[in-house]
């Protein structure tokens, strides 16, 4: 007990001396308004209340009430306030409320009547589906009531308040009991048992034998359990139960709840997935939007968060939570880097994991009625899947083994849910479709379904490989049969047999004289696939060419021909074909990688002029191009669609981006910097304008001691966000690693200028300054030792950064529009040691603008370089400009710092410059002016 508590107790005793009189009763003088008002002792007040209520000292209804109020004000939950109340009746409620309750009850009665009627119809599974019920337990196992002999002895006798009769006393052997108690206490001390709540909960529920009604009931029960666990902060458990509920019947609410639980667990990725699913099912679900905004915010995608919040506010303008959240996010956005337009991002095909999971979730045909992503619901699910995929999986044929006999079934159910994503390509599907057989068939039906007027192909719902008589496009039944047989054989890996079937079909086709180039094209293309499999590249090429004559720019024949050429080591035509494929569909990953590979080979083979030896690559007409959403040039026409698509792609790449970034961060945490580097680099491919990724990657480079690269990244980061502390700090470290102590120290000073509290920076600065002095003392110019790696660095970066580079192709941009371009031009010139170029650059800029153009990029090297350029090149041409440049240079940011840290050689250069300048006669300045300025520069 602390001193104050004791004193307060003492005081209370003084004020209310003798709270109870000798009989343990409340003194009569305490039954007083004044006393009750002052008394703070709830226990005592309760006693007073008891006395007042009992009426022993007289009945004082008002004092009674006053005392009750006083107790309530001190302790609203006091037990003394609990009064027995009569049960409420309908009359004690407001009429409206009661009628509402009654109606509700009436409705329930009716509903439950219907429900019961439904229940009484026995399920068709009734009585047969009991395999999943565990067997009867072992017969009649006897369990002794005690925990074990020791605890039995220990626990039993003392538990009784009193022995019930004398016989019990007789049985009681004190010594023995004591012994047992001692023994038991020393003997056992097992570890505590913790039921952490989510252990061993099955996340799937077998509901095959249940009726729809029962499923709904069970799903809602599991949801309740999840809600309860959520309220008890058992988020893991809640997720488990929500998952169970979803495995019975997926509902929007449960997805939403699970998202919330995942947010609590900080599993942003999964939370995002759940939100996405809610929004797929119900595009304007405010809760899901809000939650997704939270996720985005935590993942650092502030613009997307803001977008979601705005969507909420559009629907519900007075949603205070959203408004508050939005201002927060907006503030953060403003604090952070200016948002760059989201456009032209490379769409990589890397959503596999997500989609797979989603397919798992959805593929169970629990609720096929749910509209998914606005797909035409007339088409049966299987067909939908096929149609969506048919044109996207062709390259699968190039490497497929076509072995999966299940591919039809799985593809059907998986596919149909993926359609919600705007038909975007996904790799997993290709894996499921490695055999071109069903793919072909699907291609055929796809075309029919979408172009021809004949009613939706009857093939839907029946796997092509099984039903050999399924109609295929315009093929007459015997040919269709041949083709389907061929597909089946192909799928089973009997390529030569399939070849025969296709050949027959083609022969039959030409004989029958049907005019259906599509179908013939497909047949040729399929036969080409067989040839390819058999290694007969020559025939394959022929068939592909025939197919392409029939249907120019068909993806699959093109790809197959490319593969065939490739395998024959005829790289030039292969290259041309792959390029054409990419024109048709830019998202074919296999083509991309092949193009890259072949490019390398061709360069090796033909040298730098390899392009000249290529055959003509045909220009693909717009109509034949697929999946080029990001390049649709007519936003006016298709604005709504394009916007949606762009959003979708943006979001996908955003997702991918955040996932990659997170993985990268994880690796960093684990210390696997190389792996992290890979992830960040991928990130930057997606989003070259993300400052944090540059700084993160810089950190990784620092850790693996690639200082030049680290410096590059920091420069890039600073280009995006000129005041990024981290970037400065890391560049300082990189510079230190490169033994460029001067630059390092100026960077560190920049950091300290921004935030004087960064202790690491201070420490580093001390260290660097010491090193700097050391290196100066040793007389060697540290600059000489620095391997200048700017050039390669720039190349690296230009791969990562898709923004137009001013110095691309070696030309230096002499008309820099802003500080960024100026910096690049200057760097380019400097990295080549081209002082003349620098002089040109300087002569092209307005001297007044120089400080602004240099912004904070000025360091010792830049300064020395600029002075060199001025001295050796510009001075001879235009001394007036040199003077003006110098005049404005000294107003540049960080000038004094840089000046102080100049090396001896560089100082000499400055002196030299001013000597030269003063020796020049000019109308623009006098000797005195030069002298004044020299005083500024030479310390």
């Amino acid at each position: 007990m602390s001193v104050s508590e004791v004193s307060s107790l003492l005081n209370r005793d003084n004020t209310f001396s003798a709270t109870l009189d000798h009989d343990g009763k409340v003194p009569v003088e305490h039954l007083d308004y004044g006393y009750i008002e002052k008394c703070k002792n709830v226990k005592h007040l309760e006693k007073i209340l008891r006395v007042l209520r009992s009426g022993e000292e007289g009945v004082y209804p008002h004092l009674n009430q006053f005392c009750e109020d006083r107790v309530k004000s001190l302790d609203p939950t006091s037990r003394a306030l609990r009064k027995e109340q009569p049960v409420a009746t309908a009359a004690s409620l407001p009429t409206e409320e009661w009628s509402q309750i009654r109606e509700d009850l009436q409705r329930w009665q009716e509903e439950s009547k219907d429900l019961e009627a439904l229940m009484l119809q026995p399920s068709i599974f009734h009585g047969i589906g009991n395999e999943n019920v565990p067997p009867v337990r072992g017969t009649n196992i006897s369990v002794p009531l005690g925990q074990n002999p020791a605890s039995k002895a220990k626990n039993k006798p003392p538990k009784r308040a009193l022995p019930l009769d004398y016989k019990d006393w007789d049985k009681y052997d004190v010594d023995k009991e004591c012994e047992m108690i001692d023994g038991s206490e020393s003997k056992k001390d097992p570890a505590p048992v913790i039921n952490s709540g989510h252990v061993k909960i099955r996340t799937r529920v077998d509901v095959t034998t249940l009726t729809e009604k029962e499923k709904l009931l069970m799903a809602s029960r599991e949801k309740d359990k999840g809600n309860e666990a959520f309220r008890a902060k058992g988020y893991e458990e809640a997720v488990a139960y929500y998952t169970r509920s979803l495995s019975i019947v997926p509902t929007v609410a449960v997805f939403n709840n699970r998202a919330q639980a995942e947010i609590k667990l900080q599993r942003w990725h999964r939370a995002l997935q759940d939100c996405q699913r809610v929004l797929e099912l119900e595009p304007i679900n405010l809760k899901a939007l809000l939650r997704r905004a939270t996720v985005f915010q935590h993942q650092g995608s502030l613009p997307l968060a803001a977008e979601d919040l705005r969507a909420v506010l559009r629907v519900e303008p007075h949603n205070t939570a959203a408004a508050k959240h939005l201002t927060e996010v907006d503030k953060k956005i403003r604090e952070g880097q200016p948002e760059l337009p989201i456009k032209g991002r490379k769409i990589l095909i890397q959503d596999i994991e997500e989609d797979e999971e989603e397919a798992e979730e959805h593929a169970r045909p629990v609720d096929p009625r749910q509209p998914v992503g606005g797909v035409d619901s007339v088409v049966s699910p299987v067909e939908r899947g096929d149609m969506g995929n048919a044109q996207k999986k062709p390259y699968g044929g190039g490497r497929g083994d076509g072995a999966s006999p299940h591919s039809d079934a799985s593809n059907g159910s998986h596919g149909h849910h993926r359609r919600g994503r705007g038909g975007s390509w996904d790799k997993h599907k290709a894996a499921a479709h490695e055999s071109p057989g069903p793919g072909k068939a699907a291609n055929g039906t796809g075309k029919r379904g979408s172009t021809a007027s004949e009613p939706g192909a009857a093939k839907g719902g029946r796997p092509a490989g099984v039903d050999l008589d399924a109609p295929c496009g315009a093929l007459p039944p015997p040919l269709a049969r041949l083709k389907n047989e061929g597909n089946l054989l192909f799928k089973n890996g009997q390529f030569s047999d399939a070849l025969g079937k296709y050949s027959q079909a083609i022969a039959g086709f030409t004989e029958s004289g049907i005019d259906s180039p599509e179908d013939l094209c497909i047949l040729y293309s399929n036969r080409a696939a067989c040839y390819l499999k058999d290694g007969n590249s020559q025939e394959c090429i022929q068939d592909c060419s025939k197919a392409l004559e029939l249907q120019p720019f068909s993806l699959k024949p093109l790809l197959r021909r490319a593969t065939a050429y490739d395998s024959m080591e005829r790289y030039r035509p292969a290259y041309a074909d792959y390029k054409t494929v990419l024109q048709v569909d830019n998202s074919v990953q296999a083509a991309h990688s092949s193009v890259n590979r072949i490019t390398r080979l061709l360069i090796e083979q033909d040298g730098p002029e390899w392009r000249e030896k290529l055959p003509d690559i045909p220009l693909v007409p717009m109509a034949a191009q697929q999946h080029r959403r990001e390049e649709i040039p007519t936003p006016e026409v298709l604005q709504a669609r394009a916007e949606k698509a762009a959003q979708d792609t943006a979001r996908r790449s955003e997702l991918r981006f955040t996932a990659l970034k997170q993985e990268g961060n994880e690796f960093v945490k684990k210390g696997q910097f190389q792996d992290a580097l890979g992830k960040y680099t991928e990130c930057l491919k997606l989003k070259p304008e993300e400052c944090t990724v540059y700084t993160n990657r810089a950190l990784c480079y620092l850790k693996v001691e690639k200082f030049a690269e680290a410096k590059q990244d920091c420069d890039a980061a600073l280009g995006l966000e000129p005041t990024n502390k981290k970037a400065f700090y890391r560049r300082a470290l990189a510079n230190k690693g490169l033994k460029d102590y001067l630059a390092s120290s100026s960077d560190l000073q920049e950091v300290l200028q921004q935030d004087p509290g960064v202790q690491e920076a201070e420490k580093e600065l001390e260290e660097v300054t010491a090193l700097l002095r050391q290196s100066l003392a040793s007389g060697a110019s540290p600059r000489k030792k620095v391997p200048i790696t700017e050039v390669d660095g720039d190349q690296d970066r230009s791969v990562a950064d898709s923004a137009p580079r001013p110095q691309e192709g070696g030309a230096i941009n002499m008309q820099p529009a802003d500080a960024y371009e100026f910096g690049h031009s200057l760097n380019a010139a400097r990295s080549r040691g081209d002082a003349a170029a620098c002089a040109d650059l300087l002569s092209s800029v307005d001297p007044e603008r120089l400080p602004r153009l240099l912004s904070n990029q000025l360091d010792g090297h830049v300064m020395a370089f600029v002075l060199e350029a001025l001295d050796e090149h510009l001075l001879a041409r235009d001394p007036g400009r040199v003077y003006r440049l110098l005049q404005s240079l000294h107003t540049a940011e960080r000038f004094t710092v840089v000046l102080m840290l100049l090396e001896t050689a560089e100082r000499r250069r400055v002196t030299q410059l001013f000597e030269h300048l003063s020796s020049v006669q000019s109308d623009d300045f006098t000797k005195d002016d030069v002298q004044n300025m020299a005083n500024i520069y030479i310390i």
Partner: protein, 358 residues
Amino acid sequence: MSTPFEKPQIISHIQKSLNYTIFDCKWIPCSAKLVCLGNLARGTGVLQIYEVQGGELKLNREIEKAKPFKCGTFGATSLQQRHLATGDFDGNLHIWDLEAATEPLYSVKAHKEIVNSLDGVGGLGVGDGAPEIVTGSRDGTVKVWDPRQKDTPVANMEPGAGEAKRDCWTVAFGHAFNQQDRCVCAGYDNGDIKLFDLRNMAVRWETNIKNGVCCVEFDRKDINMNKLVATSLEGTFHVFDMRTQHPTKGFASVSEKGHKSTIWQVRHLPQNRDVFMTAGGAGNLHLWKYDYPAQRSGEDSEGGAVGVAGTVNLLQNVTLSTQPIASLDWSPDKQGLCVCSAFDQSVRVLIVTKLNRV
């Protein structure tokens, strides 16, 4: 109180006087019907089915059997079948098809004396695993039955030879969150509470609350056991947090003296496991809410995990009758609807409002 309309209200919707002593009443799942079990004056058992219909209880069916019924449950049957399991004064366990109740579907002489309490699990979509019924009797044994096995129990928990036989007043299933795990909790007249682990067939935990245990119930049967409420003869009840079991201290608990008389029953709201109602010997009902502590487990002096109990808050209390309320059942389908029976030979349908806001 300050905000009377924000608190849940307990409204007496229907009251029906009966001509027999009613011991138990249960809602029939997926319906607006309920069964009442009791003892006719002439010493026979009676089972009545009522339907809630526009503010009335309409008698649907009445079945008379030789022995008075003490207790019943639907816990071990499927939603389609909805067979009622009953325990009677003679120690029999029966399972009835309420549509054709002339002969029981399952009948066993379970105990030598009255079956005080029974509970079922594995049916109604509640809990994974086999359907099982547990019975507790005055003869001191607790037995677990599988309706698929005739005549013999699948587990029998009885005092060893030479041990005094205590009257088992109450039994409850819990921890049935997968096919293997399952626990039975039993309360005895001497204040013993025992937790049997049916997976390991051993007593997992026991304690004594000093007064006869009138009723025990897990907050949910089909989750990893979370909370257990035990009510006692002299009016206190204990809420045990069943998540953390300390080797010597067992489970953390909080106790509350809500009633001035015996608490006959405790029933958790099926839609929210943290809300429960206790029914007292003075004809009163108390509605409680359990609030979890910030951290559900802490460390003891030796660094072992020890549970931390939360707090119990009274949401509402009303007096219905002058006689004890012996049974209480929440409707599994309609939140807030409950039925209770008192020894004044009446059954009441109550509505509790605003439960979704607590």
